[in-house]
Structures are given as C-alpha cells and as structure tokens.
C-alpha cells in the first residue's frame, strides 16, 4: 500500500487551462521516486497538487489511506509531508540552527532529538549552526533546506529540483544526501532535471510530458529505455 498517491489528477492555476491531465503516481514505503520530464511538463505542478496549491478539476491525493485532496499547506505539513521548494528554500537571515528550529515550529515539545538527528545526518551543519543560512555554499544550503524539512520526521520528503544550478560534482553530493536520508528511513519523492543521476539513485521513476504520464518504471529500466534516453538522457 502506497504512502502517497496522486490519482488521475487534472489541475491548473486559477481560471487558466489545466496543466496536469489525469496524472497518476505513487510512492511506496522506503522508496526514492523521481519525476522527470522536459521543461513545462508539469513536474513541479504535480508536487504543488499535494499541497493544495492548485485549482483541482479532478482526481485525488491520498496519504496513508486518507484523502487529503485540496487541503491547505499547513494541514498537509501537519500530516507529515514536508517539502523543499526549488528556490527560496532556506531563511537566509536566520542561522542554520534557527532554520532547523523553524522546521519544527508546529512541534509542541522540545526539539533536541530531531535537531541532533539532523546534525547526525548532516555533520557540517553542526559546525556552522550559528552561521546565517544565506552565507552558506549551495550544497550546504541544500543540507539546511532538507534538514529543515526533516525536523518533523515526515512520512514523505518531497524535493523540487534539489540539484538545480549545481555542477555535476555537487549534484552528486546532493544525491548522496538523498540516499542518506532515505537510508535513515524517509521515503523521498523528487522532481529532477538531472534525469540520469536522479534515476540512478531512484527505485522508480515517472516521466511526465505535457502534463501527461508518459513512462513509468524502475530507475534502471528507465535509464535503459531508448525513448527516455533520447528525450533527455543524451550526453
């Protein structure tokens, strides 16, 4: 039974034409799933559907057997789905530690445990915890962004293009972080432009084109698929 599933979603922004047409995808426990596709395919939009940030025309979003279609972001977060957006994903003027604290804002009790868990996952953050997040390097910032999202020990971690703008070497570092997070027990759903590297660490992947499901399969299968390779794994 999947942790998170998007079923036949047709949705868009406001009164405009829908961007997603009957898109379906799911995330099983323990998995890393990548959503890849050309620009404008609706990948990031699919993520926003989970957070009720779209005008839903059809379909549903189910988390752990509960229908959460159209619920406000705050509610979805409280249910245990944490999201790292592509841009503006840290609070630049807050320190590393303060960023993490904000991740746990809705927790009532003390946050020492989640905090030390995140520092264990990302040791460089412990060293820089008093530093303003905006002054960190791209890779470290991504750690803060993910760490912030992990403070609630979410059921699902969603990442929107975590390696955008990073060189292949740094991108690989980020993918290593994703692997680490997943190994510690969190299923990850991510949208990626770096299709090949993303699929290489993913259990499964979905290819979206023009707001439609196009391909689906295990990471390895998709990498090997000729059509997928032609589309954007070339080079």
């Amino acid at each position: 039974m999947s942790i998170l599933s998007l079923n036949d979603i047709t949705a868009g922004y406001g009164g405009d034409a829908p961007i997603l047409h009957g898109v379906s995808l799911s995330l099983e426990p323990g998995e890393i799933v990548s959503i890849i596709g050309p620009n404008g395919a609706g990948k990031s939009t699919a993520m926003k559907a989970v957070f009720g940030m779209l005008d839903m025309r059809g379909g549903s979003v189910v988390l752990d057997d509960e229908d959460i279609t159209g619920e406000a972001p705050e509610k979805v977060v409280a249910r245990g789905v944490c999201f790292v957006p592509q841009t503006d994903n840290v609070f630049p003027n807050l320190s590393v530690e303060e960023n993490l604290e904000m991740g746990a804002y809705i927790l009532k009790g003390p946050i020492d445990e989640p905090l030390s868990h995140v520092y264990d996952l990302f040791p460089p953050l412990l060293e820089k915890r008093k530093q303003a997040a905006g002054t960190l390097s791209g890779g470290q910032r991504q750690m803060v962004a993910m760490g912030r999202a992990l403070m609630l020990s979410p059921k699902v971690l969603m990442l929107d293009e975590p390696t955008a703008g990073l060189s292949p070497k740094y991108a690989q570092e980020i993918f290593d972080l994703v692997l680490r997070v997943n190994a510690a027990g969190t299923p990850v759903l991510m949208v990626e432009q770096n299709a090949k590297q993303a699929l290489a660490i993913s259990h499964r992947g979905y290819v979206l084109v023009d707001g439609h499901n196009r391909h689906e399969g295990t990471g390895k299968d998709l990498i090997a698929d000729r059509e997928v390779a032609e589309m954007f794994l070339g080079g």
């Binding site: 868009g12 406001g14 009164g15 405009d16 961007i19």
Partner: protein, 320 residues
C-alpha cells in the same frame, strides 16, 4: 426668494469646486488609472500651480514676488508649465521606484514644497499667503460672475476630458496601459518605459497644477495651509477610487459624488451648537475615510469600473 438665491449660490460653489477637482482627478487618473503611478504628491503640484498663477497675476507688493499683473489665462498656463517642469525633475529621480516607495517619495516631495512655500517669506509671504488674487470676470454683476467662472471650469473639464479620452484610446494610451499591466513584456517589446512613465507623470501633474491655479483664482487667496494639503490629496484619491480608477468618466463621477457628500456633511455639522460645534466637523473626514474603506472592500473597481479599449484583456494578477 433670498433663500433660493442662497441655495443657488451654494450649488454653484459646489459645482465649481467639483469641477476643479474633476480637472485634478483626470490628471490623477492619468497617473494612476492609466499608467499605474502611485502619486500621493498631489498637494505639492497643486500648491505650485496655485502660487505660480498667483504670482503671475497679482499686483506689485512688497510681501511677495510678482507684480506682473498678467491675465489670468497666462497665469494658469504658467501654473501648468511650472508644475510640469518640476514634475519632470521629480520624475527623473523617482519614476523607477516601486509603488509604495513612490508613494513615500511623492509625499516627501509635497512636504518639501510646502516647507519652501512656508519658509521663503520673501517670495511667498510665508504662512500669510498671497491675497488679492484676481478672479476672471469678477467685474460682472452678481450672480453672473460666479456663473461665468463655473462655466469656465466646466469648459476646461470638458476639454480635458476629451483630450484624456483621445489619449487613452490612442496608441500612446494603449502603451501606457500595457506598461501598467505588464512592465516586463512592455520592456521586452522595446518600449522606453521610464520615458513614457515620466510623460504620464508630467502631464498628470500639470493638471494638478492647473487645479491649484483655478482654486487660487476662485478663492482669491492661496496659502501653504489654506487648502489643507493632506485633505486635498486624500479626497482626490477617494474620488478616483470611488468613481472608478482607469475610467475618466468614473473620475468625474467620483468628484461629483464625494464633493457633494463632503459639502452635505458640512451643512449637517454646521448645525451643531455648543462645545461640539468646533469639533464635530472633523467627523466629516472620518466619514470620507470610512467611505473609502467600504469601497475598497466591497466595490474595488469603483462605481464605473475601467472599460478597456477594444481587443484587450487585463492580464491576471496571479501568473500561471
């Protein structure tokens, strides 16, 4: 019979002032409704226009500069030109500013003008202001003098309305609205956004200067506090918002409605007696403010929402 006469006189006064405000509202509509410039410095250009026209047309006196005794028409034109020139320099500095920054800057500028007018006593007679400003056609037998002035103001409103409508529907007007709605696209299309905005700013401010000049001649007096500058600015904005910003007819309608409301409340509050007599008139300001809030919340487009020229759709606020 006397009472009727009194009412008619009052009605004329009301209509004349509404007309003067209409002139300024058309200017503000050009700034805000058409071009999207948040100009809160209305009072500044109003004052410049008023003083310029006064200085050009009054007699020689030791209290302030002037003594040119030129015809009022010249004074009014000078008022427009001076406002325009100053608006040009202000625009050069401020036009790039985003909306609320522009608001702060233009209010600051209005304040600076007021300070200069108050402090440079050799030129402006400071707080005592300039009096004995000639009024056109005042030599005529009552009541034809005020009637003539009112008709003159109406004529000016009609001409400016016609010009504004022509402008709005012209290629120039369409470019302005394109800039207002989507600056990036306009820039990408090669339009010199700054230059066009400055043009709109200057033209709008010229009309405010004209309004100031017309007021100066109407009251035969002008001073730095005479027309509570803040109230003038505020009432003008309320007029535009209530009537419908982006719509010239709406601007004029707004003037009529709000000025009538403003005057009607004066009639009511002037009946008060005793201790409250001096204080209750301030509730008029409160009422206008409240009207503004209600309109903003319930009728955001105003009474006559903007009618776009054919073939254009206003772009959505939330982009896809």
């Amino acid at each position: 019979m006397d009472q009727l006469y009194g009412y008619l006189n009052y009605a004329m006064f009301l209509m004349t002032m509404a007309g003067i405000y209409a002139v300024m509202a058309l200017g503000l509509n050009l700034n805000w409704g058409v071009t999207g410039l948040f100009n809160v410095g209305v009072a500044g250009f109003f004052a410049i226009g008023a003083y310029t026209s006064a200085i050009f047309s009054t007699e020689e006196t030791s209290k302030h500069i002037g003594g040119f005794e030129l015809p009022i028409g010249v004074g009014l034109i000078a008022a427009m030109i001076t406002s325009g020139i100053i608006a040009y320099f202000v625009g050069r500095i401020c036009i790039r500013l985003r909306s609320d920054y522009l608001a702060i800057a233009t209010i600051g500028i209005a304040e600076i003008f007021r300070l200069i007018l108050k402090n440079e006593m050799w030129a402006t007679n400071g707080t005592r202001g300039i009096s004995n400003i000639p009024r056109p056609m005042e030599g005529l037998v009552q009541p034809f003098g005020p009637i003539a002035y009112m008709i003159m103001v109406f004529a000016i409103v009609a001409v400016i309305y016609w010009l504004m409508e022509r402008g709005r529907n012209s290629p120039w007007g369409r470019v302005m609205m394109a800039i207002r709605d989507n600056e990036l696209a306009a820039r990408a299309a090669g339009k010199n956004v700054e230059r066009l905005r400055i043009q709109a700013f200057v033209l709008g401010s010229m009309l405010m200067g004209l309004g100031g000049g017309l007021t100066a001649h109407f009251f035969k007096f002008v001073g730095p506090e005479a027309t509570d500058p803040l109230l003038t600015t505020f009432i003008l904005w309320v007029m535009l918002i209530v009537g419908g910003s982006g719509n010239n007819r709406g601007a004029i309608l707004g003037c009529l409605i709000i000025w009538t409301l403003w005057s009607a409340t004066e009639i009511v509050t002037s009946q008060a007696t005793g201790d409250w007599a001096t204080r209750i008139p301030f509730m008029r300001m409160f009422l206008i403010g409240l009207v503004l809030q209600i309109v903003l919340q319930k009728f955001p487009g105003g009474l006559l929402p903007e009618k776009l020229p054919e073939g254009r759709r206003k772009s959505n606020d939330d982009g896809g």
